[in-house]
């Protein structure tokens, strides 16, 4: 195999790692909408 094969593999692994990190990060920060039920808290901060 040519010497640069390893270089290509290393770059590919690096790119994959970066993409994975970005995907994980996007998932950690992604949000949703949550419904809660009224009056479940006692003595907590009231809802305006």
């Amino acid at each position: 195999m040519a010497w640069w094969t390893w270089l290509v593999v290393a770059v590919a692994v690096l790119v994959a790692a970066v993409l994975l990190a970005l995907a994980v990060q996007a998932r950690r920060r992604s949000g949703t909408v949550v419904a809660v039920r009224h009056g479940r808290r006692s003595g907590g901060k009231g809802v305006r």
Binding site: G31, T32, V33, A35, H38
Partner: protein, 200 residues
């Protein structure tokens, strides 16, 4: 009437103090289904590598919910996440994708988004729903999207929303019509929601 916004679009909106500092960004929007009010937001950090924050934003600390930012008075008013939403509730109360049924047992569709009012009211005015076949007849492959105004007695149970059957008659096709319907016109009974924010 303040601008109506899709709750999903609030995710990643910056949380900015009146002093102009961005302290976090919105992650989840939490609302009280019974009262039809936003109760707060969970937060994530603004940095490139930062994830969810331990602290959350209770609605009482919000100065205004705007098009480009959630303005808060002071970063010290951020509270423990448990004060806004418990972990168990967060897992159980996800409404996106939830089934919408009438109290007569008819299928309305599934929730795509929750429509809230900007400003300082925190009002939840309705839902964007992927309409079921019964509600939007027609053999189109593409499901129709409709806006369902929030009924006065909305129940959330597990993965479904139950709304009064008569509210379904008020289904509209667009956000502007929803605004006209919920902006203080007829059909809105005066209840615990009295504080209409006279903002901007």
């Amino acid at each position: 009437m303040n601008e109506l916004m899709a709750a999903r679009s609030l995710t990643t909106r910056p949380v900015v103090t009146l002093g102009g500092d961005a302290v976090a960004q919105v992650k989840d929007t939490v609302f009280d289904a019974e009262a039809g009010r936003i109760t707060g937001f969970t937060l994530s950090g603004r940095g490139l590598l930062s994830g969810p924050l331990r602290q959350s934003l209770p609605w009482s600390a919000v100065h205004a919910l705007g098009h480009d930012a959630v303005v808060i008075r002071d970063r010290r008013e951020l509270a423990d996440t448990a004060a806004v939403v418990a972990r168990r509730e967060a897992a159980q109360g996800r409404v996106l994708g939830a089934r919408v049924l009438t109290d007569a047992g008819a299928d309305v569709g599934t929730v795509l988004d929750v429509v809230v009012e900007g400003g300082d009211s925190g009002r939840v005015v309705g839902f964007r729903v992927a309409a079921s076949k019964d509600l939007a007849p027609g053999s189109r492959r593409r499901r129709r999207q409709v806006y369902v105004p929030r009924g006065e007695t909305l129940a959330v149970s597990g993965r479904a929303l139950v709304m009064p059957a008569d509210a379904v008659r008020h289904v509209v096709g667009g956000l502007a019509e929803l605004a006209a319907l919920t902006g203080g016109g007829p059909g809105r009974r005066s209840g615990p929601e009295s504080g209409e924010g006279p903002l901007s």
